[in-house]
């Protein structure tokens, strides 16, 4: 995983650089076989695409959940306004869930943007 940001420049690397990547990948206990193979082959397009899709789908799922929570909170708000709400705490807990989920998603998104900007700042 630690190799993913620099993996993108593997294509222009010399054989020596590829060798170093391979050693790093083998040494790192968290490095997957795919990363090792990608580093050895000097091409990481497939791996990067898979990871990108993973993150996108994770964020997508997160947003979907947040939207569901927001929707149920909005439903409770309407029930509270129209006098159809049966339990006060029901609304408050649903609203708390929606609020916390939104905060979590924005935090994750901000962290992802930070990481992206960090990579963009890297001198090439």
């Amino acid at each position: 995983m630690a190799l993913s940001p620099i993996g993108g420049v593997g294509g222009i690397g010399a054989a020596q650089l590829a060798q170093a990547y391979r050693q790093q990948a083998l040494a790192a206990s968290s490095a997957s076989d795919a990363a090792t193979r990608a580093a050895a082959a000097g091409s990481v397009d497939a791996g990067t695409a898979a990871r990108g899709a993973d993150f996108a789908s994770a964020i997508g799922q997160g947003l979907q959940q947040v939207q569901n929570l927001d929707q149920s909170a909005a439903t409770k708000a309407v029930q509270a306004a129209t006098g159809n709400l049966t339990d006060i705490h029901d609304y408050v807990i649903t609203a708390t869930k929606a609020q916390t989920a939104t905060e979590l998603t924005t935090t994750v998104r901000n962290k992802a943007m930070d990481a992206f900007n960090e990579i963009m700042r890297m001198p090439l």
Partner: protein, 135 residues
């Protein structure tokens, strides 16, 4: 729904049952002086029956499984002036002890409040976890 916010839902179930308990006690208190003729059953006190929700793990809170009813015989009170009194001058009152109901109400109220406190604690914990990522 989502396992991330399970603790909030569990506390919510606790609040729901305690609210039902408070409702039942309120009804008992409201009917503490409900008089019936001796030919009918007395007003029966309501007691909430609660049960834990098991999931084979940390549990999923509590649920109200039903309402148990008190003694239909109630207690006979000699009140010959009462319009509902029978030939011997008795009427039937519910077998509800006011003091007991009031102290039970305190338990229900404190239980409800404890669940509210727990929601606040859990929310603070989640937000602390989110703050961790903002540093």
């Amino acid at each position: 729904m989502s396992a991330v916010f399970e603790a909030l839902g569990i506390s919510g179930s606790g609040m729901e049952v305690h609210q039902a308990w408070m409702d039942a006690i309120s009804d008992n208190l409201a009917n503490v002086n409900t008089v019936r003729p001796t030919s009918q059953a007395a007003f029966q006190a309501r007691y909430v029956v609660a049960a834990g929700v098991e999931d084979g793990s940390t549990g999923l809170g509590v649920t109200e499984t039903g309402i148990a009813l008190g003694d239909p015989n109630g207690r006979l009170v000699y009140s010959p002036q009462h319009p509902m009194a029978d030939s011997k001058g008795y009427v039937r009152l519910p077998d509800i002890d006011l003091g007991e109901q009031m102290s039970t109400m305190i338990m229900a109220q404190r239980g409800y409040q404890a669940n509210i406190s727990n929601v606040d604690r859990v929310k603070e914990t989640y937000q602390a976890a989110i703050q961790m990522g903002r540093g």
